[in-house]
Amino acid sequence: MEIHELKNRINDPRVIENLLKAIRKLSDRIGPVRIMHVCGTHEHEIVRFGLRSLLPQEVEIISGPGCPVCVTPKRDIDRAIFLADRCIITTYGDMYRVPSNSGSFEAATSEGNDIRVVYSITDALDIAANEDKEVIHFGIGFETTSPASAAVLIDQPRNFSILSVHRLIPPALSFLLSPGEAKVDALLNPGHVSTIIGTEVYEDISKKFRIPQVVTGFEPADILLGIYMVMKQINEGRCEVENGYKRAIKREGNRKAQKILKEVFYIKDAEWRGFPEILDSGYGIRDKYEEWDALKKFEDELGDFVYEDQGEKGCRCGEVLRGLIKPEECGLFREVCSPSNPVGACMVSSEGACNIAFKFG
């Protein structure tokens, strides 16, 4: 079977209709629920297919901090820009226009720095192999993306280092469920992060916070299935981790990728844009690979790097990322802040909640 046939089969209109029927039935029984997802791709697909409008009014789907570009602190962007006068910086596309304190990668390029967008970190390696200048790859992304960074460092490439801003999802979930944050009844866990980390890692969270979780895929039918499965748990009073994306995810995850991650990275406390520092939520590069760690390799130069936070200029990305407000509730949305003139990161990235709300709203 070809991929598109599989997609058609999964999203068969009968499947969609039956899932919606089952969701409506459960909704009548359990009343209002707030379900949070933490994946930019989920938000994108939910809005693209208008899934919210198909759901009963009592079922609210809120968007959490699922966009790696959006949660990357301004300090780290500025740090990379600071190093750009002596190196080539490579970055994944969405990061290029994100505003930081000292501008953005885009602005730094127009000032004569060499900052290039790559599709894969292997493209960055190719650049390093063909240039005399050092290449620093700006390593953003969750557990889905981090193994690629780890895998290339194992090969000990020439002329190359990574500024690791990689982040881990489960610690962010624990943070979001702590008192004072958005009230959430259930979680749809990110499918592609979970291909790497599996489903087992979420089990303690369900126990500790008494919350149902379903690891969810990305087809419209997958997302509806995830919603149905968490609602079924709520109806039955269960708080478990279930796998709604079995075709791609094993309970233990991708062991080989986990081993590679562990070989190269250690886990540290880390800042997320819009959040306070989150315990054990970032990947740093181990001493064994310090030669490829931009923070170590350019330690002397970075001694002169000073960062002064200039505040958010009315941008409420932090609250958007924490599921506390919807993009439309930000006073700058649409009139002042738009994809062509973004104030915050959430308006730049194609996975940012503000950008998605603007484009499809």
Partner: protein, 73 residues
């Protein structure tokens, strides 16, 4: 950013695979997976295959929802 696209593996050569994204061919790294064979379906993210896809499982999972094959439904 965490988008991963399904593709079919056409050729495997020492940790690198040629894959088909519904007509578009690309080379991807296979470092993160064990025993990838041509004909396998994989999910590709930033140039790396991150997991294999089990199509049987997909059909199994949604069969009950669609009543596939039942023309009366």
């Amino acid at each position: 950013m965490c988008l991963a696209i399904p593709a079919k593996v056409i050729e495997v050569d020492k940790g690198v695979g040629k894959v088909d994204f519904g007509g578009v061919l690309r080379t991807v790294r296979l470092d993160l997976l064990e025993d990838v064979k041509s004909g396998d379906y994989v999910l590709v993210h930033v140039g790396f295959a991150i997991e294999k896809l089990d199509e049987e499982e997909a059909i199994e999972c949604f069969k009950i929802w669609g009543a596939y094959g039942d023309t009366r439904a």
